[in-house]
Symmetry: C2
Subunit: 598 residues, 2 copies
């Protein structure tokens, strides 16, 4: 049945919504695809639902091709399973929690690892039952701190989440690969270029994780890749540590006056003015050519305040080369599940041994940082700060620094952390050469969870020898509504949306113009022909609307193929309009139908 | 692609779930359609999802035929719109409420009148935009006090809810009729016999409401119908009040001793032993033939405690003929949105003027009940207690009653309420004769909301004269998951489920039996043929499972047409098994395929 605009539930808007921060949000609201009901919470109008259904169909078909079966869990779930795995706490404020009338705790599920694990535990008992991959397409909830960017980061969103269950590690590898392959097919069918990057498993736990990123300069994620094939998001990038240097024979640490040098830049300037030129190789990153002090010779000490799950607050310090900064996302991952913020003035006031602007791991009276130190504050090091590297850093005395402070001799860390910024040219950890940085949008995420959830919830099966073995799992997610927004974000111009044909809400947008009844009759008849040929047709039959408004709406709504029936109708001439290229071509009705149904 | 049981995600259970109170719950869990996650909250397994999808397809097609457009609202919604209409409070404990991380109030929506109203207000402005009917198929939440009966009354459930918008009352009538007609088509296609009964609009507000009930002795709802075409659920039944009788000339009220007569039965016995026989017509229901006192001559006074929305508690008394009881559902509707319970001992202790077992509206010192009375307790009357009827009732003195107490002379009520039980033989209010009682299950509900929501939320459009007019609305609901459970409840035997073909999870269940490889090869080939012919086939290809187990599973799962490929395979013979009738017929493969694809 041809959908006629004269009675279809669609109203386009002339004005951008005032709260729209990104193009997809702005255009999807203006073109009548979605409406906002609350921050990060949207209603779907008929056009939006149709696009979402097309994406879901692609996902379902490829899940079936991967041998996965569809199920559907509730959004409202009891606390207990999430308590057992620790996620009830770990999710922090991002979890919507509520109580029922009897005071029992419930949550709105952000993902369903626990419930899938329990389902399989309920029904399966033998390795012969495995492998199994099951999935759902379902509405999920996360109470984002700053819901923004429309559907790109909502608080209610539709996700395809799949979970695999295997008796062996090799089985998990195969199940993981099957989902990974399905994701490649899905994104190819949706016309979404992708890069598969190593990712941090984060709150999901588990051993291996990869993200599918769509590379685009407007992406919110940064990833790195080498010409040799390495790719990772910055959270998962691992630093290549230099070899340790000999400590024996290195000069003693020397404290020097460094008035008004609380920043790396002022410290470097002061050093070049007052210290001898650096000896070759004295600090980690220095090279034979070093003739002046640089930020890379300094050790920057960043004080962070962690808030642990149990609510306790702990200061830690990270020491890293002064030419690097801490990367917020890498910090978040490094210290998860604790929440991290910069230390406050109050923190410094409570810890007078930390002299702001002049902090270092050592002072003439001994170690200042580290669990065994005067402050008992844990001290983590960037992997580049290997034993034998010598540094200029704070002396924990106001207006004084120290040089020739040697790692492994004058100070030791409590461990290494990956928190420094990653830079173009940094070596890839797999030896495949220097990396370059790029931006992308996350479009899918696959995890090897391993046995974490199965162990916590007791999912075991009898193995070939009749012994109980814990099952190993994977989880695989695609944000369906997010994908829709990303496609919209990538396919538009200043006039409106331009859908790829595979997900367009209709196949053809027929526009009748003018006051000639014959044009409307021809448009109706052509629409019927196209529908009979299996196309889904939106026909703009509005009788008293100007061609300009109709064309504007067609451009805004963004169906890629538009057929205009107007002045030439009497002669059987119509216009084919390609929304993406803007090209219009006058052809006969028969040719138009042939072209559209080809 | 043929679904093969050897790797399909399905495990049938031998044991009934311990918490299953009804057949549909028991069988849907045992046959692998659903799993319980929490009270009234279920996960859907592949078979269940397939049945649900078929029901949704029927609903979507008939909504499209009725000109309704599909949208989709979030389940998680902000408090404000529900506050404006009063439903945030009115829903009481049945509403799941929660707060986000910023402390803003949210709810999990039980229905979406408010949001649909606001959507149309946002987008529409003229009577020319109307009529409009939009709907969604969406997961809803109600925190039932006693979630029970599996999917029949869950706390999370899937509903089709449609809303119509019209500029005029005549328009609403037409939109209402279009949905009503669509419901008739839907239930017919789903094979669900139905009766349309007048219903109370209840918490929805509005002017007119009808329920679709499936008549069945196991139904939870009682309805009445007359041979002349009247049908209503008991909540909506209205009593035909008799004409008032003349008061003048009736004898004076007389107090009499009635020791140990706190119940109607003991009072009637006492009256027959100690009072003169009743005069014709002295009490409402007495007839000329009355020669003995009956319960119908007595006025029963029931004390109820209302809890109002603001938390205040109020006692009220209802006077009704002693041969009737108060009907809990009618009481609930009569006093909504207050909650009603029976008065407690504490209530009586606080109101010594109410002498338990001997309560009446009058005592020798004057009125005891009614707002103008000694107790100030409001007094409601059954519609049969018209002026001029005379009654035996309590005298508010222990061990004493009064007779010849005349309504309109000795006592007056504060109004009439419809709370009495309805009995077979009661006259239908439309004059179509006496009613009979029957039981049914609610399968759909249609409401004329009128202007309640549009007024509360300010939905107005310009009318033909350019003046702002408030829009009038309807709302129309079908519980999709409830319908599924009802179909299961009505279609089963002691072996398992028996789906109607229109909603069966598969079209054919092919079972290969024996150890003969040829049987499995033939079964696979027949399955492929049937799929190629457009059928959805479940093929039980499990190699080491006995025929008995396979047949038992087939009966439990309940696909209506089963094809057995076993012993006769070598001769090209197979068995067609009709799950409903139990008939098995040996036919050739070609005949079987022809019969199944016919």
């Amino acid at each position: 049945m041809v959908t006629r605009l004269s009675n279809f539930f669609l109203r386009t808007l002339r004005e951008d919504p005032s709260d729209a921060e990104v193009t997809s949000h702005r255009l999807l609201v203006r073109a009548g695809y979605i409406r906002r009901n609350a921050p990060g919470i949207f209603a779907w109008l008929p056009l939006g639902l149709k696009v979402e259904a097309k994406i879901e169909t692609v996902v379902r078909e490829e899940m079936a091709n991967a041998g996965a079966f569809e199920v559907h869990f509730p959004a409202l779930l009891p606390r207990e399973p999430y308590e057992v795995t620790g996620r009830w706490e770990e999710y922090g404020d991002a979890l919507f929690r509520l109580q029922d009338r009897k005071g029992a705790d419930y949550l709105l599920a952000p993902t369903h690892e626990e419930m899938f694990t329990l389902l399989v535990k309920d029904l399966y008992s033998s390795y012969k039952d495995l492998p199994l991959t099951i999935y759902q397409i379902q509405d999920k909830y996360r109470d984002e701190a700053r819901p923004r960017a429309g559907l790109l980061r909502g608080r209610e969103f539709t996700m395809k989440d799949a979970y695999s269950f295997d008796a062996t590690d090799a089985g998990l590898d195969a199940s993981y690969q099957a989902q990974r392959d399905a994701y490649e097919r899905i994104f190819t069918r949706l016309g979404l270029e992708y890069v598969i990057v190593a990712a941090d498993a984060g709150a999901m736990g588990g051993s291996k994780s990869e993200e599918f990123l769509h590379p685009t300069p407007i992406g919110e994620d940064t990833f790195v890749r080498s010409a040799g094939g390495y790719a990772a998001n910055v959270e998962a990038f691992t630093t290549v540590a230099p070899d340790a240097l000999p400590i024996a024979g290195q000069p003693e640490a020397v404290i020097f006056d460094s008035p008004n040098t609380p920043t790396i830049a002022t410290l470097v300037d002061h050093s070049n003015a007052h210290l001898d030129a650096p000896a070759p190789g004295i600090a980690g990153p220095a090279t034979d050519e070093a003739t002046a002090w640089t930020a890379a010779h300094t050790l920057k000490n960043v004080v962070l305040a962690l808030t642990h799950l149990d609510g306790t607050r702990e200061l830690v310090v990270v020491g890293l080369p002064g030419d690097r900064d801490v990367d917020d996302k890498r910090v978040e991952v490094a210290f998860a599940p604790a929440e991290v913020e910069a230390a406050t003035e109050a923190d410094f006031a409570e810890n007078p041994l930390l002299v702001k602007g002049y902090i270092g791991p050592w002072s003439p009276t001994g170690a200042v940082l580290g669990e065994e130190s005067a402050t008992k504050i844990r001290y983590y090091l960037d992997p580049r700060v290997v034993d034998g590297t010598a540094w200029i850093t704070g002396a924990n005395i106001d207006q004084k620094h120290v040089h020739s402070l040697v790692a492994g001799r004058d100070f030791v860390g409590d461990g290494f952390v990956e928190v420094s910024t990653v830079r173009a040219g940094d070596p890839a950890p797999d030896g495949s050469g220097p990396v370059e940085l790029a931006r992308g949008m996350e479009i899918g995420h696959v995890f090897q969870l391993g046995r974490k959830y199965a162990e916590a919830l007791g999912l075991k099966v009898l193995d070939e020898n009749g012994k109980l073995a814990t099952v190993t799992m994977g989880s695989y997610g695609i944000g369906v509504t997010r994908i829709l927004a990303i496609i919209a974000e990538l396919n538009n111009d200043d006039k409106g949306l331009i859908w790829p044909a595979s997900v367009a809400p209709f196949d053809v947008h027929v526009v009748a113009t003018g006051r000639d009844q014959a044009a409307f009759e021809l448009a109706a008849s052509v629409s019927d022909q196209l529908e009979a040929a299996g196309l889904d047709v939106l026909y703009d039959d509005r009788p008293k609307v100007s061609p300009g408004v109709k064309f504007g709406d067609a451009e805004l709504v963004g169906i890629p193929r538009i057929l205009i029936v107007g002045r030439g109708a009497a002669e059987g001439q119509v216009e084919l309009w390609d929304r993406r290229t803007g090209e219009r071509e006058t052809v006969t009705v028969a040719d138009a139908v042939a072209a559209l149904t080809r």
